[in-house]
Structures are given as structure tokens and as C-alpha cells.
């Protein structure tokens, strides 16, 4: 069956990407290999001497040829063993996984807000094309699409937390404070979804089958909703999924502004401290999540759209 072949093909495509990502993460530690030994020593509180460095290199296997080192590292990485964080001395996987739910919650909330706003806006805007409402939606979405999230976040924080004291200055990853960070994250996506959906709907409205449906007696709105929306939503699924995946890599700026303890902010802080095991772990975990989400999306798409099987 064609579909099975497509699915297999799609899964095979992952392999080169995984390879690139793991090599990237591995090279990261090797380019600064001199650092790895001395940083490891420092993190253990041992004096950095030539002798000690040699011992650590031996211990960490840094003297073996590169491919061997990569293979050894990969074997551990497969089991999510990236060693301990230099800063906290706790296992990297633990550090990352404990922060992942916060990032996930934020991404989910932001996606939900975007869709809840974009779908009705786009449908009304397309139905009443060239009306005042349509013009307003288009103008606002073109401004919103250019608004940098970090500045929007700062301004919202200033207005609502400092000036009007409605929201807390520090959100501290608590679900009841999710509205402002999630909204900040959602604005640019809402604008993008509204524009895409509106133009898809307008394209659909020109399609023969909408006119045919109207010739059968369906009202213009009804024909658009019944026959246009599903077809217009399909391409949007990919866009929403990709953005969701990107959000799961951590939204560093928004997490920083609202003191939301997610993985993005954590990874950047570790970067500044040269906490390499964490960075490696972060790159691998995030990439895999990201690849999986893309895979799931493509699979969903293959099963929703009946056309794929016959092509």
C-alpha cells in the first residue's frame, strides 16, 4: 500500500537529521576539548596541572580517536546519559526533564490562544472581504506579525505588573500566571495563522466546489464553513505543528522576561557558564522532540487527507 511506503520513507528520512544533530552536539564538546578537561577539573575543585589534565583526558576517553569517542558518547546519549551538570552536579537528563513540563505548558497554552483567535478572525475576515472588519484584521495582523515578542513581553509586564499591578512580576512557572507569557508568545503566530487561513479560505471560495455547493442552495457562509474550512485548515496544521515544535525548544526571551523556568532559559544560562554536558543534552533532547513532532504531524496529515493515498 502506498501509505505504508510513505510512512516508512518518512521515518527513514529522520536518520540523517539525527546524525547531523548528534554530531553537532558531539563536536561542540570536542572543539573545546582542551576546555572539557580543565573545566571538568575545575568543577571538581581539583588544581589544573598538566598531570591532572592528562589523567582526566584518559578518564573521559579524550585521547581515543574521534570516531571512537563519538561512538562512546552516542551509546550513552541513546540512554539519555549525558553525565552530570558542571554547575549542580545532578544528572543532565534530570535537570532538563524537570524543566520540560513548564515549557510544554507554555507552548500548549500559546498554541491554543493562537488558534482560538485566528480561526474566527480569519473566517469573518474572509466572509466579509473588504469590509471594515477585514481591513482592521489585516492591518492589525500585519503590525502584530512584526512585533518582536521580547519587546511585547516587556511592555505587557511593565503595564500589567508594574503600572497596574494586576499580574505578578515573577510568574514562577505557575499555571495561574500563564496568561501573559502565553499571550505574548501567541501574538505573532496568531497574526500568521490569520493571514494564511484567510487567504486559503478566499482561494477556496473561488473554487468550483464552493460555487457548486452554493448552486445546491447552501448559503455563502455555510458553503465556506462546510467546504472551505477543512481544506483551508489542512495546510495550517503543518504550520501550527512546526511552530509548536519550535516553541518546545524553549522560548528563551519570554521565559526570561516572565521568570518562567523552562528549558530555553536554563540552556542559555548553562551556555554562559560553559556547562557543556547540559548543552549537549539540551541539543539532543530538543532535536528529538522536534523531529518526533514533525513526524507525527506528517503522519496525521497523511491520514486526514484522503488524497494522499491515491497520488
Amino acid at each position: 500500500m502506498k501509505r505504508t511506503k510513505l510512512v516508512l520513507n518518512r521515518i527513514l528520512q529522520i536518520i540523517p537529521i539525527l546524525l547531523i544533530v548528534t554530531i553537532l552536539a558531539f563536536v561542540l564538546s570536542n572543539v573545546s576539548a582542551g576546555d572539557v578537561a580543565s573545566v571538568t577539573l575545575q568543577s571538581r575543585g581539583v588544581q589544573v596541572t598538566e598531570e591532572n589534565l592528562e589523567a582526566v583526558r584518559e578518564e573521559l576517553g579524550l585521547n581515543a580517536p574521534m570516531p571512537v569517542q563519538y561512538w562512546n558518547w552516542l551509546k550513552k546519549a541513546v540512554c539519555f546519559d549525558f553525565g552530570n551538570s558542571f554547575q549542580t552536579n545532578r544528572p543532565v537528563s534530570e535537570e532538563i526533564l524537570s524543566r520540560f513540563p513548564a515549557t510544554l505548558k507554555l507552548a500548549l497554552a500559546a498554541t491554543l490562544i493562537s488558534l482560538l483567535m485566528a480561526i474566527p478572525l480569519a473566517v469573518f475576515s474572509a466572509r466579509y472581504k473588504d469590509s471594515l472588519f477585514d481591513h482592521a484584521v489585516r492591518a492589525i495582523s500585519s503590525i502584530a506579525a512584526t512585533m518582536p515578542d521580547f519587546w511585547l513581553g516587556l511592555m505587557l509586564l511593565y503595564l500589567f505588573a508594574v503600572e497596574w499591578k494586576i499580574a505578578p512580576v515573577i510568574s514562577g512557572s505557575r499555571t495561574e500566571n500563564i496568561l501573559f507569557p502565553a499571550f505574548t508568545l501567541s501574538v505573532a503566530n496568531t497574526a500568521a495563522y490569520t493571514r494564511v487561513l484567510r487567504s486559503n479560505l478566499l482561494d477556496a471560495a473561488r473554487g468550483d466546489y464552493i460555487i457548486a455547493a452554493r448552486a445546491r442552495g447552501l448559503g455563502k457562509s455555510m458553503a465556506l464553513m462546510k467546504h472551505g474550512l477543512k481544506n483551508a485548515l489542512l495546510p495550517l496544521i503543518t504550520l501550527v505543528g512546526i511552530n509548536f515544535g519550535k516553541m518546545l525548544s524553549g522560548q528563551v526571551a519570554v521565559e526570561t522576561i516572565f521568570s518562567w523556568n523552562g528549558i530555553g532559559q536554563f540552556a542559555v544560562n548553562c551556555m554562559k557558564q560553559k556547562d557543556l554536558p547540559v548543552i549537549q543534552g539540551y541539543i539532543v533532547v530538543v532535536s528529538i522532540t522536534y523531529i518526533l513532532i514533525n513526524l507525527i504531524l506528517d503522519l496525521i496529515y497523511m491520514f486526514i487527507d484522503p488524497r494522499i493515498d491515491s497520488e
Partner: protein, 269 residues
């Protein structure tokens, strides 16, 4: 032969549909008069850009901006469609006039199954209709338009059917709602020759069942084979009309005569 009733089901008087762009007006339909009778096929023939497709959409009330019907009357079953509200017009579409299109595959939503298309045609005008109750009727209608395996077709998506099968389904959708007038807009020009013939035969048997058919085409051969009355359209105006026999026997307008020279038949495309 079926006797011609004296009053036409559909009468179009002085219809004008214009399209407006920033600095020009295109008079796609410019003062057309037409009569369509039950149990007859009325052909509307013209070249590309003559306005015949815009005509059919005007009758259905499906002209969107930047187009507009600026003048005229469209009398159907004793009332002028132009005076109806959009809501009343919706009850006319599909129920009193059905329409089939040039690209049958494009005229059906690719992600909606045939049975749901058929059900929509019924449900739009009969809110109480239940899908389950209608299935036997659907099967019968599909058999009626010459589709042999109705159960399989009901469960298919439009893209899984051939162009000819799709067109038969479109005809079936017109029939399930019991429309008295069927507008067929180039129903065969995207199909191969054998399929063309069988679709035309389908239309003729509908005519014999008493339905009024408007057949829009650029193909004089099709007109000669199937139509009873004909109108020749050029630049938004009707330049010649009459029964097919009359017009073919003695074409009055030079353009019609020009079209009938065998060399020029191709040029209509």
C-alpha cells in the same frame, strides 16, 4: 414527441450583468432575452468570452463582486428571481434549478465523500432528512444515471472517480432534489468522446422525463445532436435564436452562418 407547453418555466428578460474594475466596465451579459421550456433542451452556444457562463451564474444568483446584475428580470415558476432575498434565493438553488459544471471533479470537494455530497443536496432543502433513510434513494438515483456499483461509489471520494463518473454524480445531485430546471455548463467538454455521448444521452432522458435543460456549450455538434431550441450568443448579446431545426436550416445572422461552415467549428473553442 413531447408537446411543448406554451408558458416557459424560465423566462429571462433584458438581463444585464456587468463586471467592474478600477477603470473599466466589462458588459459580460448585455440585454439577453431567453425562454426555457419543460421537457426541452435549450442550447446556449457561443465562443470563449461570449458571456454564456456568466449568464448561467446570473440565473443562479451567484454573481460575486466585482460583478453585478444591473438590469433585467428572471422569471421562474411565476416569480422574478431578481426580487427575491438571498435567503429565498437559497431555497431556489438546488431545489428548483440545479447546475452541473464543466470540470465535475473540481466541482466536488475532494475531501468529502459522494454520499455526503448527495446528502447535502437533500439536507439543504429538507432539514428533517436523515442520512440513513436516504441511502436507498441515493443508490437508486446513482443507478438511474448509469452508475453500476452504487454502494462503492457512495463511499468514494470524488478524486477516486473518473471525470465521467463525477459528472454522473453531479447529474444525480441535481435529480435527488427534484429540480425542474437543470443548467449544464459545458458538461462534456472536459470528457472524452465516448463519455461525452453517454452523458448527453443521460441529459436527453432527463428531458424526456420532463425536466427543462439549459445546455451551455461551444460545440455545434452537441447542439445538433441533442438540443431542441438554441440561442447564439456573442459579446454578451443574443444574436440569433429559434428551434434547432429552424436555425440550422436557415441561419439568419452572418456570425451563425460563419460558425456553421465546417472549417470554423473549431474556432469556437
Amino acid at each position: 414527441m413531447i408537446l411543448m407547453s406554451n408558458t416557459p418555466v424560465l423566462q429571462i428578460k433584458n438581463l444585464k450583468t456587468y463586471f467592474y474594475s478600477r477603470d473599466s466596465v466589462v458588459k459580460a451579459v448585455d440585454g439577453v432575452n431567453m425562454e426555457v421550456h419543460s421537457g426541452r433542451i435549450t442550447a446556449l452556444i457561443g465562443g470563449s468570452g461570449s458571456g454564456k457562463s456568466v449568464m448561467s451564474r446570473s440565473v443562479m444568483g451567484l454573481i460575486d463582486k466585482p460583478g453585478k446584475i444591473v438590469d433585467g428580470e428572471i422569471w421562474l415558476n411565476g416569480r422574478d428571481l431578481r426580487l427575491l432575498s438571498e435567503k429565498e434565493m437559497r431555497k431556489v438553488r438546488g431545489k428548483e434549478i440545479a447546475m452541473i459544471f464543466q470540470e465535475p471533479a473540481a466541482a466536488m470537494n475532494p475531501v468529502v465523500k459522494i454520499k455526503d455530497h448527495l446528502f447535502e443536496a437533500v439536507h439543504t432543502h429538507d432539514r428533517k432528512a436523515r442520512r440513513k433513510d436516504k441511502m436507498p434513494a441515493f443508490r437508486e438515483v446513482l443507478l438511474g444515471v448509469g452508475l453500476r456499483d452504487p454502494d462503492k461509489i457512495l463511499e468514494s471520494y470524488p478524486f477516486e472517480l473518473s471525470g465521467g463518473m463525477c459528472q454522473r454524480v453531479m447529474v444525480a445531485m441535481g435529480i435527488v432534489a427534484n429540480a425542474g430546471v437543470l443548467i449544464a455548463d459545458e458538461p462534456t467538454s472536459s470528457l472524452d468522446l465516448t463519455t461525452q455521448i453517454s452523458i448527453l444521452e443521460e441529459l436527453m432522458s432527463l428531458r424526456d422525463a420532463g425536466i427543462a435543460i439549459i445546455l451551455i456549450t461551444h460545440d455545434l455538434g452537441v447542439v445538433a445532436q441533442t438540443a431542441d431550441d438554441m440561442y447564439v450568443m456573442k459579446d454578451g448579446k443574443i444574436i440569433e435564436s429559434g428551434t434547432v431545426r429552424e436555425v440550422f436550416a436557415a441561419p439568419k445572422h452572418p456570425y451563425t452562418r460563419y460558425l456553421m461552415e465546417p472549417v470554423h467549428v473549431e474556432e469556437l473553442r
